[in-house]
């Protein structure tokens, strides 16, 4: 209940969540949204903040945030209550165990080492198991303890909090909350904390019951053995008594240990012996059982809190990678910085499809051939076409590829040997303004007739056909003077 309030109260007080709470909330939003994030919350100053900050801010302002916080508070409360219940049960077990083992009506003597063994061997055994699991966190994470805890929590939820468990997104948030608390990062501290809490409760119950029973019952402490020597027991008892003695607890002396051997009947010092053996048993429970578990519990509590403070979201997860693209894109648009003031070029297709209408057109018997910006292959196709179309000796074809060649052709055509000029260009080449200017300069020469021979290497888009048609029109080459030269196997038209 207290823990449950803390989450909400802190949020209300200064409107700020702790490091872990804010990330838990973000994970909650992820659980609600599923695999595909959306950008329903608008975030200002997105450019000046890191992605993680933005993502936490988004979670805080998410419309589901109150519902998620409330459910997480509820889970916190349930966990805390169940831990308290488990602790109480173990407290009861501890007290019962002392009662059953040591204070039956028939017995007025207690075998000290048997009592000690019954308390400490299982404790030691479980401690070793815990240590192994703690050092291998992945085992602890998938351990029975984890499954048991989750199973019990689920059971209690279904049994006592049915209304809560029917809330929207309950299951997703339940899985989210507990997979974080029992997961890879925090799970081993959470479960270790629980383990030590339970043993602490057990020993607390046992110690209190022991004190109570010893205060109200009279028992004699004995020890016995069949296979060990009495010297071994002497040494063992002294070893066990060393720490309590250092801390001022009365412990049995050498003689008192010997006198307590089963069968010894020295009644003179019986009261004193009862006192020192009781003191040793109580102090052993305290020093070897209760206090180590208390220390480990506090240590795990501290480590758990510390780990929570260093908890990081796995931003390489698909959800967060997608969210980053939405929340803090790695690019931005700068818009148009130097606009075009003229009207854009028309991309409307003009006239008929060149490829379909001009195949049958024929060139004049003699002409002046000019290649314009042809590649080696295109030039070769054009030359082959020229050879097939006219006497090869007439004029060699020049391929105009630069300014000097352009100027030379312009000069040559001022005194033409032939009145017809065929301009070979590649249909694949983009009819740009440079080409238009040059072809315009050529066609402006009077008394010459121009043909446009389009060399087709591979089929082009209709838009390209149209662009050439447009260019021809703009430089005053009539449609009838456009010829298509297609590469058909090794033959050219």
């Amino acid at each position: 209940m207290i823990g449950g309030k803390r989450f909400v109260v802190r949020k209300r007080k200064d409107n700020r969540l702790s490091h872990f709470e804010s990330r838990l909330l973000a994970e909650g939003v992820r659980a609600v949204e599923g695999e595909s994030p959306s950008l329903s919350t608008s975030i200002s100053n997105a450019q000046s903040s890191s992605f993680e900050k933005l993502l936490l801010l988004r979670a805080k302002h998410d419309q589901n945030s109150p519902q998620i916080s409330a459910l997480f508070s509820h889970f916190h409360k349930v966990t805390k209550n169940l831990y308290s219940l488990f602790a109480f049960i173990l407290f009861f077990f501890g007290a019962t165990a002392v009662n059953k083992m040591m204070f039956t009506e028939q017995l007025s003597t207690v075998n000290f080492f048997w009592a000690f063994t019954l308390f400490f061997i299982p404790n030691l055994f479980m401690f070793v198991i815990w240590l192994l699991l703690f050092l291998k966190p992945e085992m602890l994470q998938s351990s029975s303890m984890s499954r048991f805890s989750l199973g019990v929590i689920k059971f209690f939820e279904n049994r006592f909090n049915k209304a809560e468990s029917e809330k929207q997104n309950y299951l997703a948030l339940f899985n989210c909350y507990f997979s974080l608390h029992f997961g890879k990062f925090l799970g081993r501290y959470q479960l270790s904390k629980l383990t030590h809490l339970l043993w602490l409760s057990y020993f607390t119950g046992a110690t209190l019951m022991l004190v109570l029973m010893l205060a109200t019952h009279q028992v004699d402490f004995v020890w016995q053995t069949s296979i060990l020597s009495s010297d071994s027991f002497q040494s063992l008892t002294q070893l066990l008594a060393f720490l309590p003695q250092q801390l001022g607890f009365p412990v049995p002396s050498h003689e008192q240990i010997q006198q307590s051997y089963l069968g010894a009947t020295d009644l003179l010092d019986a009261e004193n012996r009862r006192l020192v053996w009781s003191s040793l048993l109580i102090s052993s429970l305290l020093l070897y059982g209760l206090l180590p578990r208390l220390f480990l519990y506090l240590l795990m509590r501290y480590l758990f809190k510390h780990k929570k403070k260093t908890f990081q979201l796995d931003l390489s997860h698909t959800y967060y990678v997608q969210l980053r693209q939405l929340l803090k894109p790695n690019k931005t648009t700068l818009g148009i910085t130097d606009p075009d003031m003229e009207s854009g070029k028309s991309s409307v297709q003009l006239g008929p499809d060149i490829g379909t209408i001009n195949k049958e057109n024929h060139l004049p018997e003699s002409f002046y051939p000019i290649g314009v910006e042809l590649s080696v292959k295109q030039h070769s196709i054009a030359k082959s076409h020229q050879v097939l179309s006219q006497a090869p000796s007439l004029e060699p074809m020049i391929n105009v590829c630069d300014y000097l060649a352009q100027q030379k052709i312009l000069v040559d055509l001022k005194h033409p040997k032939c009145r017809t000029v065929v301009l070979y260009v590649a249909l694949g080449r983009l009819p740009d303004r440079g080409l238009k200017r040059f072809l315009g300069q050529l066609t402006s020469l009077s008394e010459l007739s121009f043909y446009l021979a389009l060399v087709v290497e591979k089929k082009q888009s209709k838009q390209r056909d149209s662009d050439w048609y447009q260019l021809a029109k703009e430089v005053f080459i009539p449609l009838d003077n456009i010829v298509l030269i297609e590469l058909q196997g090794d033959k050219h038209e």
Partner: protein, 455 residues
């Protein structure tokens, strides 16, 4: 915000806007068409490096008439030794004399206001005088120029010719970057080339390279997660049906729908991750067929898993029993330990086989996705992932999800059968099943990791 600005220039249709799209991972940037003069404005986009720095890229109109422009520039200041940059500035001051060169003027303004120039070359083109003139004009701007060789995939044979030509004009720091057949390493080479040319921006560009690498690797990692997760979903799904034809047929349709939907969702997410349009895909429906759920109690895998689980549960049950024995002072004389072991064993059997045995008794059967379908699903996703990794954002061709894939031992993970057996043992791992739960979730995560490593 501090900018490192780059002007992207080149002849019309060389792929300037496509380069922008690919670098910005933005299929919507500018306008791309197979036509001269498509880009008529100078338009910018920026890659954000950190909170205060960015790499700004400016797309420019094509240099369509460099021959005329160079002649005009050369004609200025006859008989005087004047540098190119003064010629450019003089031209811009007298622009009203050349209304036909407005587009070229925009390019020149972008050149002069940028820190660096990317000159995009269409390698499919022969080396023409106009390209020579374009490079000469660029050299007048006194800015470092990186020639970017585009369409390397289609015109690899022209690379040598272009390199020679560039070397003649003293441009040695070129990079190959195909806008359609994208290689991320080529993008990094661009930034590395920028580093060599802009020594004072070296650390900033280092930061940019690290950032882009991280973004790329995060994206790839996420994509692998998606694919591996889809496989787990599809392979562990099972639908229960009555053992008659009509019920099986109805459940099969539902099974097919759910698997196709899961795949479609995964494809959508992959496209979104790589920032492509959803319309970029041409999907062929996955041919999902149903296989009967084979539960062989005596298969070695089942026995092994069962043996381990049984042992574990007996030990745990007995452990609980011992604790009870101890807690009650041994008065139960170990009976609790014994009964705990028995309960543990029974629990183990119930946990593993309860549903199957119940189904068997009630005459139901389980339907699952057959092996061949899963193979196609796996390979289709891998093929898609490879395509997305190598696709430029200027590509127009649709991505096809093929069904006719060559399936052989090498194309599938070596542990394919083991994965399949495992996944079919854990129907609770699939969200396509109604009763998904978190049990053995840790094992699911481990398997997910294994599958990711297989990609």
């Amino acid at each position: 915000m501090s900018d490192l600005s780059v002007a992207v220039v080149g002849h019309a249709n060389a792929g300037k806007t496509s380069l922008m799209r690919t670098l910005l991972r933005d299929s919507e940037f500018g306008e791309v068409a197979d036509q001269a003069g498509t880009t008529r404005h100078v338009e910018g986009g920026a890659l954000l490096i950190d909170e205060s720095n960015r790499l700004s890229l400016f797309d420019t109109p094509g240099l369509e008439d460099s021959i005329a422009l160079l002649q005009i520039l050369s004609a200025y200041f006859p008989e005087q030794n004047v540098d190119g940059i003064e010629r450019l500035q003089y031209f811009l001051e007298h622009l009203t004399d050349y209304p036909e060169l407005q587009q070229e003027a925009k390019v020149l303004r972008a050149l002069l206001s940028s820190d660096l120039i990317f000159y995009v070359i269409d390698l499919r083109e022969p080396i023409l005088g106009k390209y020579h003139d374009e490079l000469k004009i660029l050299s007048y701007a006194t800015k470092p120029v990186i020639p970017v060789l585009n369409f390397t995939f289609e015109a690899e044979e022209n690379i040598t010719l272009w390199k020679e030509q560039l070397a003649r004009l003293n441009f040695h720091a070129y990079v190959s970057f195909d806008n359609v057949h994208f290689q991320f390493s080529d993008e990094l080479k661009i930034y590395q080339k920028m580093q060599t040319l802009l020594a004072d921006k070296e650390s900033l560009l280092d930061e940019l390279i690290a950032l882009r690498e991280k973004q790329w690797s995060d994206t790839f990692q996420s994509a692998k997660q998606l694919v591996a997760n889809l496989f787990i979903e599809a392979a562990s799904v099972r639908y229960q049906s009555d053992d008659n034809e009509s019920a099986i047929s109805a459940q099969t349709i539902l099974l097919q729908q759910s698997v196709r939907q899961a795949e479609s969702h995964c494809v959508q997410q992959l496209l979104q991750l790589y920032q492509f349009r959803q319309s970029d895909i041409e999907n062929q429906a996955l041919p999902v067929s149903q296989g009967k759920w084979e539960l062989d109690l005596f298969s070695s895998d089942n026995l092994q898993a069962f043996g381990i689980k049984l042992g574990g549960h007996i030990a745990k049950g007995a452990g609980v029993g011992v604790a009870i024995d101890v807690a009650v002072g041994g008065i139960t004389l170990g009976a609790a330990a014994l009964s705990g072991g028995v309960v543990g064993a029974l629990w183990s059997v119930k946990q593993r086989y309860y549903n199957e045995i119940q189904a068997k008794i009630k005459g139901k059967r389980y339907l699952c996705v057959d092996d061949e379908t899963l193979q196609v699903l796996w390979l289709r996703q891998l093929q898609l992932l490879t395509t997305l990794q190598q696709r430029g954002h200027a590509s127009f061709n649709k991505i096809a999800l093929e069904n006719s894939l060559n399936v052989n031992a090498d194309s599938l993970p070596k542990k394919w059968n083991r994965y399949l057996r495992k996944l079919r043992s854990f129907p609770q791992w699939s969200s396509l099943n109604n009763q998904r739960d978190q049990s053995e979730y840790y094992k699911r995560e481990l398997l997910l990791k294994e599958l990711i490593d297989e990609i």
